[in-house]
């Protein structure tokens, strides 16, 4: 049986044989975002996981702050901070097995780092020395994708290919609320559902696409409600509840791994910082809203749980902070070194072998640099 034949079919037939293919009810999200922290279910969560999540959240926040500082020092071209969204970032990375793939969007540097990519290499794009700083195959992390939603069909294709080869690989693809409006979002989700590809789509709904609020982006009851239109389950989760996000994603990954097909997860969160260091958020939103969300801070929510259950004390928090400081110090130190660049790299990877035309251009640049060097002497 081919992958293609596995699907049941929505195959309209004339009455009385008519039957819709799937029962839509289980595909619809609950109207309330799923939460764990602050509920009774929290008590049943694995302490180890809580501590790991916590340490990563704190590291993540520190990383965001450090990277933003580096933009001010001219060490990064630009930085889109995910402060406030660390729970989504970290949970996305931790929900995957090593053999799985992560497809991040441009704001998801933290998820990339949480998956194991070197923190400096993760910033190469934003530093401006090359377009991607890490080998995607090393940690199975696709390049940070700048054109919004375009990475989603890649995730589908990769997961589909893995399945065809009989490999046990799930792809998790990240996109913003704004990105869901793009045609590529639609096409990717449709392909994933038709192919029953092992993909999990994580929408970080942080309320804004740069300055455009969600209300101008969609009129849907929730973004998770889009899932039923593709025939996949949609899940709505509190994106600031790291435990809840992790659980929902891990479930979706398991479901995909077991051959159950894709899931669309909407994590409701908030972008605390401006869009990037270059953005002026006061033009389009007020402080009250930001403050309301600060009161629902992902780190705070988790610390409350951990300290309440006696799993973490002042010392523990201090240790985690020190670890995060060490990360920041290392980042600072290494980012303050000028990268060594070879202009000839312009021609090195356009094709497997440069075309005759590129060879000519390479020779030209080479001669120019030679002349420059001679002139400088």
């Amino acid at each position: 049986m081919t992958v293609m034949e596995q699907r049941g079919a929505y195959r309209p037939t004339p009455p009385p044989a008519w039957q819709p293919r799937t029962d839509p009810a289980p595909l619809l999200p609950d109207p309330e975002p799923y939460r764990v922290l602050g509920t009774e279910a929290a008590a049943r969560t694995d302490p180890e996981l809580l501590l790991t999540l916590h340490a990563q959240l704190v590291r993540g926040r520190r990383y965001n702050a450090q990277a933003t500082a580096l933009t001010k020092q001219g060490r990064l071209a630009v930085y889109p901070s995910s402060t406030g969204q660390e729970a989504c970032q970290v949970a996305a990375a931790l929900a995957l097995q090593e053999r799985d793939w992560l497809f991040p969007s441009y704001r998801d540097t933290l998820a990339v780092v949480a998956r194991g990519v070197d923190p400096v290499q993760a910033l190469t794009l934003l530093r401006g020395d090359w377009h991607t700083g890490y080998d995607p195959y090393e940690h199975r992390v696709a390049p940070l994708s700048t054109p919004l939603a375009t990475q989603l069909p890649h995730a589908v294709g990769l997961a589909h290919a893995a399945r065809l080869k009989g490999d046990d690989v799930v792809a998790l693809a990240m996109v913003g609320d704004g990105g869901t409006s793009e045609g590529d979002f639609h096409e990717a989700l449709n392909f994933a559902a038709v192919w029953q590809a092992p993909v999990v789509f994580l929408v970080q709904n942080n309320g804004f696409a740069i300055s455009v609020p969600l209300a101008k982006q969609t009129a849907a009851p929730s973004l998770a409600h889009k899932a039923v239109g593709y025939g996949m389950p949609g899940r709505l989760v509190d994106g600031n509840d790291a435990v809840a996000v992790h659980q929902v994603l891990a479930d979706a990954v398991r479901h995909a791994r077991a051959g159950g097909g894709p899931t669309l997860v909407e994590a409701v969160t908030y972008r605390i910082d401006a869009h990037t260091n270059a953005d002026d958020a006061t033009r389009y939103r007020g402080d009250t809203e930001v403050e309301a969300w600060r009161a629902h801070d992902p780190i705070m929510l988790l610390e409350r749980e951990l300290t309440g259950r006696g799993l973490l004390d002042e010392d523990g928090i201090r240790a985690v902070r020190e670890d995060a400081e060490a990360l920041a110090a290392d980042l600072r130190a290494r980012m303050n070194q000028d990268p060594v660049l070879d202009p000839m790299d312009l021609f090195a990877h356009v094709y497997a072998e440069p075309t005759p035309q590129l060879l000519e251009q390479r020779a030209q640049l080479s001669a120019e640099l030679e002349a420059e060097r001679e002139g400088a002497q």
Partner: protein, 334 residues
């Protein structure tokens, strides 16, 4: 005669002013795009328009470029004059099918019944330290698409004059805004903005006798610098700013080349399949016996636009232009 208080204005401000004046003059003019409302666009070109004209006239759309341009087609069919902002060059690609299959062809398809007076503003080009997908020069794609006008200003005054003309045009115009000139400044009289420029006329920015630099958009200032530097080498270069790639002003360009007998085309866009090939070919077709040397091209390399730290090696600069001028077979002279 009253004394006029000239004030400095940036190209971005000139564009804003053009939009504002166009909207004030004609209620059919509507601006739409991503972040054009409260934010005023990521380059602030639409700053203040939503406030002044309301969000129905200057509208933040969902994040979907094909949808934006497609909706603009429908709006134009109903008599509006949409001005669409694409946030960056590479983010206009999702709208490519709408542009090529509909915007450029609707008038022709309907024997003139449905003209589409749509202006598509596209910030383009590099030199601003932008990360991948933020520095493309995509004019070759638009030039190869019959039915579109392709216009690009190089001065603050032209930014105003050409954008007004683009909006007033009954045909679709791809209006390419050189990103790194957004902050370039000129002094003007705010009481009396520059004239509306007819689309399709090149202009000689600097007269010279030795050779012609044919250029447009962000490369115009570079060519003017090169022309200054060339004086030291004994070359007196003429600089032609095309301003409009479609229609193309063969007359002005060829008149210059016939005078000088030598030409170099300069642009940021890649060389292979880029605008320079067309320009060199048509100049050669028309001025063959006036040419002392082949028309040369100085362009970006045929590589994906490089990361910020390497872009200076990619962009055509003064030295590379002078090198090309030096290769115009001056031996023939002596």
């Amino acid at each position: 005669m009253t004394t006029v208080a000239l004030k400095p204005a940036t190209m971005a401000q000139a564009l804003t002013r053009a939009l504002r004046d166009a909207m004030a003059a004609d209620p059919a003019v509507h601006v739409l795009g991503e972040d054009v409302g409260k934010l005023g666009g990521v380059f602030r070109v639409t700053d203040g328009l939503a406030k002044e004209f309301g969000e129905d006239r200057c509208t933040d759309t969902p994040l979907a470029e094909a949808g934006i341009l497609g909706a603009a087609v429908g709006m134009a069919m109903y008599g509006l004059r949409p001005v669409v902002e694409m946030q960056f060059d590479a983010f206009a690609y999702p709208a490519f099918e709408q542009l090529v299959s509909h915007v450029s062809r609707m008038r022709n398809r309907t024997r003139g019944a449905i003209p589409l007076p749509i202006t598509v503003r596209v910030p383009y080009g590099g030199g601003i330290g932008g990360v991948e997908h933020h520095s493309d020069s995509s004019e070759a794609y638009y030039m190869a698409t019959p039915g579109l006008h392709v216009v690009t200003p190089a001065t603050v005054a032209d930014a105003y004059g050409l954008l007004r003309a683009a909006i007033a045009s009954d045909d679709p115009v791809v209006f390419l805004e050189p990103k790194r000139l957004y902050w370039s400044k000129e002094s003007w009289n705010p009481e009396e903005p520059p004239a509306v420029e007819p689309i399709g006329r090149a202009v000689v920015r600097r007269s010279g006798r030795s050779a012609t630099l044919i250029t447009y958009g962000p490369s115009v200032t570079v060519c003017l610098e090169a022309a200054e530097a060339a004086r030291a080498e004994g070359w007196d270069l003429e600089v032609v700013d095309l301003r409009s790639l479609v229609p193309f002003d063969d007359e002005t360009v060829c008149a210059s080349v016939r005078r000088t007998g030598r030409a170099v085309v300069v642009h940021e866009s890649g060389s292979f399949g880029g605008p320079g090939g067309e320009i060199a070919a048509r100049v050669t077709e028309r001025c063959f016996h006036h040419l002392e040397a082949p028309v040369l091209r100085v362009a970006g390399f045929d590589v994906p636009y490089p990361p910020p730290m390497l872009e200076r090696h990619h962009l055509p600069g003064v030295d590379r232009i002078l090198d090309a001028v030096g290769r115009l077979q001056w031996e023939a002279e002596s």
